[in-house]
């Protein structure tokens, strides 16, 4: 009796998270999936039935493909810039001494402490036609240019908030590194740069990949930043889903786009996961 109770106690312990998972995640996802197969009527909205029309429309209509392509491009560029900026930043951070390290780590985290609306309006003020950056351009004699409502503005704001998600996993894998390993590389005649590229980078690759996955996943499904900084014309997938639901009132279409975005993200993540498993499991455990 006691033994049986003991054996099942782990199951009971998972119940709260299981309930949360089922009610808050699986149910809406399933409803969205079902909704995406519904037929749509201009006058009545979703009318039930089963159709693949919406999926077909998304993958055959250049309008939607362009949005997906733009989302992929912005997601990849954001990830790339986060890697290029975040990895060296994490490396420097891990080399800092005691009082500075925690201070700078706090600074790295600050974007997450500011509300997305405040942060994004900050960017639109900064990049606006009369904003300080354009004023600087005028002072330098380059003239004003349109910075707001461009892909560049969206990427800059995304990189700003995504950097912590890149830096933290890389920093964690740097913490696990034996500092003597880098010294060993130097002692065998490697230059600083060679030691980093041949010895440090390969070891923190899993951290870079998981950071990249988080950044890509969040950037590709981001909503508020492209919504506020991309404007009406520069749509990304998540903003399009919103438009379909709330402006077009075409719920099944919105659901289809959302499902495709979810699947695309899953494919990218699983592929990366496979690469990590295959490449690094045997070596780095």
């Amino acid at each position: 009796m006691m033994a049986a109770a003991k054996k099942f106690s782990p199951v009971w312990l998972t119940l709260p998270s299981l309930a949360l998972f089922l009610v808050m995640l699986m149910t809406p996802l399933t409803l969205t999936l079902l909704l995406s197969f519904n037929e749509y009527d201009n006058m009545k909205g979703a009318v039930g039935g089963f159709t693949l029309d919406h999926y077909w429309k998304v993958i055959s209509d250049g309008f939607y493909l362009e949005i997906f392509w733009r989302t992929l491009k912005i997601g990849l560029l954001t990830t790339l810039i986060c890697v290029v900026v975040g990895v060296p930043e994490a490396y420097i951070l891990s080399r800092m001494n005691r009082p500075w390290r925690s201070l700078f780590l706090m600074i790295v985290l600050t974007p997450l402490l500011v509300s997305v609306v405040v942060r994004t309006f900050g960017w639109s003020m900064l990049l606006g036609f009369e904003g300080p950056i354009n004023q600087l351009f005028v002072a330098l004699g380059w003239g004003k240019s349109r910075l707001l409502y461009t892909e560049g503005a969206v990427i800059a704001a995304l990189v700003h908030v995504m950097l912590p998600f890149m830096i933290i996993p890389v920093w964690t894998s740097l913490q696990k590194l034996d500092p003597q390993v880098e010294q060993a590389a130097l002692s065998f005649g490697a230059s600083r740069l060679t030691a980093i590229t041949r010895v440090v980078l390969p070891q923190i690759m899993p951290g870079i990949l998981s950071g990249g996955l988080i950044v890509f996943g969040l950037a590709a499904s981001s909503f508020a930043i492209p919504g506020l900084l991309g404007g009406r014309r520069l749509k990304m997938v998540a903003t399009t889903v919103y438009d379909q639901y709330l402006h077009e009132l075409n719920w099944p279409m919105g659901a289809s786009i959302a499902v495709i975005l979810l699947l695309a993200n899953l494919v990218v993540m699983l592929t990366c996961h496979r690469v990590v498993e295959g490449q690094y499991r045997r070596r780095l455990g």
């Binding site: 010294q183 060993a184 002692s187 065998f188 005649g189 455990g285």
Partner: protein, 326 residues
Amino acid sequence: MPFLELDNLTKQYGHLYAVENVSLTVEQGEFISLLGPSGCGKTTTLQMIAGFVEATAGAIRLQGRDITHAPANSRGLGIVFQSYALFPHMTVAGNVSFGLEMQKVSKAERARRVDHALTLVHLDAYADRYPRELSGGQRQRVALARALVIQPPLLLLDEPLSNLDAKLREAMQFELRNIQQQVGTTTIMVTHDQAEAFSVSDRVVVMQSGKVMQIDTPYQVYEHPATDFISRFVGKTNMIPSAPGHPQRHIRPEKLRLVAAGSGRVNATVAERFFLGSQWFYHLTSDLGELTVTIPNDGSAPQAPGTVVGVQWDEANMRTLAEGRA
């Protein structure tokens, strides 16, 4: 001209001397151990030779060349780190080959030398394994092969055996010495284990509080320790009280013999007895205070606790040391 010369080498952290005026000359092919308790400055000394710690004062000369301030990656030394510091993402062969790649050795030559180095440490069958698939002793030997393959003028070993279990450590001590004698590389090893230092070194440098206390052969260090501290650090010792104003006298436990009561220099009562396999270890109480005695287990019956025995020794084995002499 000595092969390696440390000339008043000093490392200061603020007002604290980690290493203070350490001078040492090493001949080519010698195996030197830096021995001392933790915090005695032995590792800092090694790191200054390796180039990982910048010397505050003094000089390091290798084959006549002043390398005191040369960057670590220009010194060309072979180093075995305490944690082994193998490259976890490279195979055994990749690890060993790394130093040769940095020296731009041709691929064919590299393969030949890697193979040779791995054969030397009996790991030729493990070339394609990754470090985490190896045991502690095997990793240790990969680290050694990696350091030796570049044919360094100087091999530095930082507590190389401290992460191995007792039995493996003993086996590796002899293997380390054999390999070193085969390749003839001048070697400096840091250790806190006197048995390890004694069994493999030509000479031992005993350090305490950042200073060199004695440089001698292992036998001399053990038999004629320069200070009270060394005497205790490198083995067990009995303090024999002497007349007031006279220096303290010491004798090692294995230099004492148990004889019939009344026929020794002093009578003593067996307080405790421990069996160590190859020997018996006694605690005795006597008029001279507590005595420890080790007797080889020659098969004869040991003395039971409470027995009164005589204790005998040769006066020649008695050492006189200035108390706490620096």
